[in-house]
Every structure is written in structure tokens, then in C-alpha cells.
């Protein structure tokens, strides 16, 4: 392929501004001495110029309204999902904390009770009862918070 043919192959990309600096310089040097390629380059510049000025279609205001409304709904759903997850983590953490903290307390109470009544020694039963109570309280709180949150969102 001759130098002329090689440059001619690059003209479309040159008009599109997609050449490297070295290629641009090579094309520019050739155009100074070749009328055929210079005319060809003008044709490409004209076409790429028209491509840059094609009319821009506008989305309708209705489309924008619908899009914003749907996206806002999605954001609200995501926020609610995040909130519910945080509440669940808190509740589970709270239940565990309550379970762990209550152990020495109930141990102490059981010992006091067994001092008063030697037959009374139900530490493990009490502890299991308290654990169940703590988890039940945590679960109830989670449900109540979720319901409250949902109602708040509906009213907003």
C-alpha cells in the first residue's frame, strides 16, 4: 500500500478526531501536498460536522415524571429495607446482650432464693425462661418497629 493510500485510509478517523498525535501530524503533512486527499478530508469533515449537529430528541415531561416517581419509590423501598435490616441487627444484638447480662443476675437471685428455701434450686429453668422472654421481647419490638416504620412511610 502506498503512502497516499495509507493516509487516505486514515482520513475518516482524522475527521473524527480519533488519531494519535503522530498520525495526525503524518496526515497534516500529506494534506499539504495532496489536493485529492485534501478534498477527501473536507468531505469527511463535512459529514462528521453534520453528525455532531444531529437534532437531539427530547424525552417527554411525562416520561421524566414517571421515571422520577418510580426511582423515588425505589429509593424509599431501599431505605425501608435498610432500616428493617438495622432494626433486626439491633434486636438480635439486644436479645443476646440481655441473655448474657441476665445470667449473673439470675444466678444471684437463685442463690438468694435457695438460701430462703433450700428446696428451691431452679437456676437453669429461670435462665431458660428469661432467655425465651428476652428473645420474645426482641422479636415483638422488631415487628412493632417495622409496622410503625411502614405506617410512617405510607403517611409521608
Amino acid at each position: 500500500m502506498s503512502e497516499h493510500d495509507k493516509i487516505r485510509e486514515l482520513l475518516a478517523l482524522a475527521a473524527a478526531g480519533a488519531l494519535t498525535r503522530a498520525e495526525e501530524e503524518q496526515v497534516a503533512a500529506h494534506l499539504r501536498s495532496c489536493d485529492t486527499c485534501s478534498n477527501e478530508m473536507n468531505a469527511w469533515r463535512s459529514i462528521t460536522g453534520d453528525l455532531r449537529r444531529l437534532p437531539t430528541p427530547q424525552p417527554s415531561p411525562r416520561l421524566l415524571q414517571i421515571t422520577i416517581a418510580r426511582a423515588e419509590q425505589k429509593i424509599a423501598e431501599r431505605a425501608e429495607h435498610d432500616w428493617n435490616r438495622r432494626v433486626m441487627i439491633f434486636v438480635v444484638g439486644f436479645a443476646w446482650l440481655l441473655t448474657i447480662v441476665s445470667w449473673p443476675l439470675f444466678h444471684l437471685v437463685s442463690r438468694l432464693l435457695s438460701l430462703l428455701d433450700p428446696q428451691f434450686n431452679h437456676t437453669w429453668i429461670n435462665f431458660a425462661g428469661l432467655t425465651a422472654l428476652a428473645w420474645l421481647a426482641g422479636g415483638t419490638a422488631a415487628v412493632m418497629l417495622a409496622v410503625w416504620q411502614r405506617r410512617e412511610r405510607r403517611m409521608a
Partner: protein
């Protein structure tokens, strides 16, 4: 985009990550024309472009936390839109995406149906006519060529950015760009043999 524009985009992206509705409206307002135009160039049908426009913004809301803020938001947004559009075309047009679609490209383009605005002087009418021919020629091209032309000349993306959006090597982008221009010119000269394209 200007420096102020880029800062505003960064601010809106940060706001959207926090769930700020105003930030979302700001981003939609800023990108509405460019995104819709790009989708329309790809799918060619306004109803499909509108549906994809909505889906793209829902995807933005869904994925915004995964967006790496050190990267270019434009490229990320257009990549999301492109993926949705390609999936859509694969679903409804099972034939190769590299081939032109049927004869519907011969009809009026969406751009043709746009309101023309103020009455124009004669030379502007001629200019508009010429651009209409260009628009028709673009619409008759295969998807990968329409896309690269839209990204380069309408979105004014650099070759590197186009490569990022289309997930193709730079050399492929350049090849597609050159072939799309050549094919478009052949199409113009075939449709309007007497016209001067200089």
C-alpha cells in the same frame, strides 16, 4: 462537561448514595437528553427507548452504592444503559445485533418527528434536509456502528471512554468508527447520488 458540571455531578452522586431525592432529580435533569438520545439511537423505537430510560434510572438507584466514585459517572451510566438496551434487543430481536434491522430504518426517524421550532431561512432548511439524510443514513447502520457514532459525535466521548462503555479494545473502537463512517458515506451516496457531501 465543565469543571462546575463535574463537581455538580459528583455532589449529586454522593447525595444519591445517601438516598437524597433531590440529587436524583438533579442527575436525571442533567443527563435526560443525552441518555434518551443514546437509547433512541440504539433501539430506534421511541417507546422502547422510553422504557429503557426508566429502567436505566432504576438500575442507577439500585447500583449507585456499588459505583466507584473515582471513576467517570458518564461512562458508568452509559454502560448501564447499553447493557439494558443490548439485553432488550437480544430479547425482542433474536437475530444478530451486528446486522441492520429490517426495512423499518427506511421510515421516518424519531429525530424527524421532532418539532422543528422556529421557521428557518432557506439555507437552514437545506441544512436541516442534509442532516435529515445523515440521520437516515445513521439509522440504516448496524447497531455497533450506530452506537459508536452516537458516543463519539453526540456524546463527544473520547475513544478511551467509548472503549470503556462498549467493553472493547481501543483498536476495535477505531475500526468500528472508521467502518461506520465509510458505510454511512456509501449509504448517503447511494441514496442521494447527486448530492454534494462536502
Amino acid at each position: 462537561m465543565s469543571w462546575e458540571g463535574l463537581v455538580a455531578v459528583d455532589t449529586d452522586v454522593a447525595g444519591l448514595r445517601r438516598g437524597d431525592l433531590n440529587a436524583l432529580s438533579g442527575l436525571i435533569a442533567r443527563y435526560q437528553n443525552r441518555l434518551y438520545r443514546y437509547l433512541l439511537r440504539i433501539v430506534r423505537q421511541p417507546a422502547e427507548a422510553e422504557d429503557l430510560f426508566q429502567q436505566t434510572w432504576l438500575k442507577v438507584v439500585e447500583k449507585i452504592r456499588a459505583f466507584d466514585t473515582s471513576r467517570n459517572f458518564d461512562a458508568w451510566l452509559f454502560t448501564l444503559a447499553r447493557n439494558l438496551a443490548i439485553d432488550h434487543l437480544r430479547r425482542i430481536h433474536p437475530q444478530s445485533l451486528d446486522e441492520p434491522l429490517a426495512d423499518d430504518a427506511r421510515g421516518d426517524t424519531a429525530a424527524d418527528r421532532l418539532p422543528s421550532g422556529e421557521p428557518a431561512p432557506f439555507d437552514r432548511v437545506l441544512e436541516a434536509e442534509r442532516r435529515r439524510h445523515i440521520g437516515e443514513a445513521v439509522e440504516s447502520l448496524p447497531l455497533i456502528y450506530r452506537e459508536v457514532l452516537a458516543l463519539r459525535f453526540e456524546e463527544e466521548m473520547k475513544i478511551e471512554e467509548i472503549a470503556q462503555v462498549t467493553r472493547t479494545p481501543l483498536s476495535t473502537v477505531k475500526t468500528r468508527l472508521r467502518r461506520s463512517l465509510q458505510q454511512m458515506r456509501v449509504s448517503l451516496e447511494a441514496r442521494h447520488p447527486g448530492a454534494d457531501w462536502q
